[in-house]
Amino acid sequence: MAGAAAADGAGPARVVSLNVCTDQLALLLAAPGQLVSVSPLAHDPRSSAMAHEAAPFPANHAHAEEIALLEPDLVLAGNFTARAATDMLDQLGYRVERFNPANSLADVRDNIARMGTLLGREAEADTLLARFDARLAALSDAPETRPVVAYYLPFNETAGVQSLTGEILAAAGMANISEARGLPYGGRLPLEELVLAQPDMILVGQPYDSPAQATALLQHPVLRATGTLHEIPDGQNWICGTPFVLDAVEAMRDLRRDWEATQ
């Protein structure tokens, strides 16, 4: 069966992906042998929910020269990844397909469907979408009280309602603090305003190994002192518009039910 899709001429035979999100969509949908190379982040369990599956695939570093030598029939990139390299590949006549970052669960569905079409794997994409819809429906319940949560990010930013993070929280039955504060797309929320607003939960990502002031903010002792701080252990599920966002929804729904039990 190896290279079956390519042999049929239904899809590109050699696919190279330059972005951790297109890496995962391609890993989910490509025929065996179709995907040739992934981005280095695909191997990092902190960024990629499919680090294990990506391990056999060699990494590329999004240099135009390196990609050209791989002789791809299709190059998958994020809209903002390695602009100079993808523009160069465009000029050299390679087929480059760019994906926008998913900002909603609907975007996730669109990206899955588009990836299926590009790879000539529509049937697989339809199966994946059907499972996605069924699982999302099963996860959604309508709670009576929704806890107000703040998803706090480096640089004093908070996640907005109209973002993938915001939709994950909403699907899990949580109310987002940025809604009440008039920040639909998220925005700056100084530390003291966050603490004074007294959200039911403050969610932060896990710290990186190496320090930065921007991320050190999330370890400020005052956040722990509020007693409502929750560290999100599965950041890789939140980054990309892949079906793994539903793992994030499930984890948040469980967290919400734990919170309900204490009320």
Binding site: P154, F155, N156, G187, R188, P190, L191, E192, E193, V195, L196, Q198, Y208, D209, S210, P211, A212, Q213, A214, T215, L217, H220, P221, V222, A225, T226
Partner: protein, 325 residues
């Protein structure tokens, strides 16, 4: 005496203003009760864990920079000497970045200020070595530019090699400085070393006064130049190193403050020392208040505000130096 009182009053007023003006509006009574731990526990938490460390650090860092600027200018008898300008702050930042990125700071907490101190010590020693005890302007500035550029480049390199995606933004922080969202643990880390360095620098007054008569005159008055130089070296490195380790490299304070206060001190370096410590604290507190009042939603960096005040004064100083020939 009048100068001491008015400067202390200014610092006190700015301390109160810095505590009262935050991102969230809190009435003054809540602010005062919150600082001493009374009233709503929520307000106590915000006051004691967010605003108090920020205010205290701004004052501490300003005092350290003002004091070491005055001491260096007194010793080198050159109004251009300043920890930020001649690369001492930048080197301290490099030491701090190396301590953070190698995990040394995580291994034991004191590694951060100690590494900053070590690098600051190296920079001060290098500058003194290059500029010589008489501190010729040209060698001083050239040496300072070289040390600053090297420290800045190595800091950027260390951050570029970091695996944290936010580390690139970090370069701006280490070059500009900020006291936003620091915690009490930062304060506890920096305060002892700044106090130690400051205490050493304040003992230099008599020696620096004597030095205005020239080196021979000072020695005739019984001042040991070796001891003076060593104390200056250690005091500046400790104060600036510890301040930089928690607040990044804030420029211009050490240059501008002694320059502003010198006419009020009757050209006596001993008076200028403590006056510059108070003046530095006042200036940095004022700059940090400005950071929060002007464009509060954009998170201005402290160094930007200081440079906006400092650069024109610096130009004025150069212009005057040129006219003086």
């Amino acid at each position: 005496m009048r100068l001491a009182l008015s400067l202390s009053a200014l610092v006190f007023a700015l301390l109160l203003a810095s505590l009262s003006l935050g991102y969230a509006p809190l009435p003054p009574s809540t602010v005062l009760r919150g600082v001493v731990g009374a009233g709503d526990p929520l307000h106590v938490m915000v006051m004691q864990q967010i605003r108090l460390p920020r205010t205290a650090l701004a004052a501490l860092v300003g005092a350290a920079l003002g004091l070491s600027g005055a001491a260096m200018q007194g010793y080198l008898r050159n109004p251009l000497a300043e920890p930020g300008l001649i690369g001492v702050s930048g080197s301290a930042a490099l030491g701090a970045v190396i301590a953070l990125q190698t995990g040394l700071a995580a291994a034991f907490a004191l590694a951060l200020p100690l590494m900053a101190l070590l690098f600051a010590l190296g920079a001060v020693a290098l500058i003194l070595l290059l500029a010589g005890p008489r501190g010729g302007s040209l060698t001083l500035i050239l040496a300072g530019i070289a040390v600053s550029a090297l420290a800045g480049a190595l800091t950027s390199l260390a951050l570029n090699l970091s695996s944290n995606p936010y580390a690139t933004f970090e370069i701006v922080f280490w070059m500009m400085g900020s006291v936003a969202d620091r915690s009490l643990s930062h304060l506890a880390l920096a305060a002892p070393l700044v106090a130690l360095g400051g205490a050493v620098l304040l003992t230099l007054g008599r020696g620096l006064d004597a030095l205005t008569l020239g080196e021979d005159g000072a020695q005739a008055l019984g001042v040991s130049m070796t001891a003076l130089r060593l104390k200056l070296l250690f005091g500046t490195a400790a104060a600036v190193g510890a301040a930089t380790a928690v607040a990044g490299a804030v420029g211009f304070v050490g240059l501008v403050v002694p320059h502003l206060l010198r006419p009020l001190c009757g050209a006596r370096p001993s008076r200028l020392l403590w006056a510059s410590a108070l003046g530095g604290a006042a200036m940095l507190l004022a700059a940090d208040i400005a950071v929060r009042l002007v464009l509060p939603e954009r998170d201005l960096k402290l160094g930007v505000v200081m440079a906006l005040i400092g650069a024109p004064l610096f130009l004025h100083l150069i212009y005057k130096t040129r006219r003086g020939g």
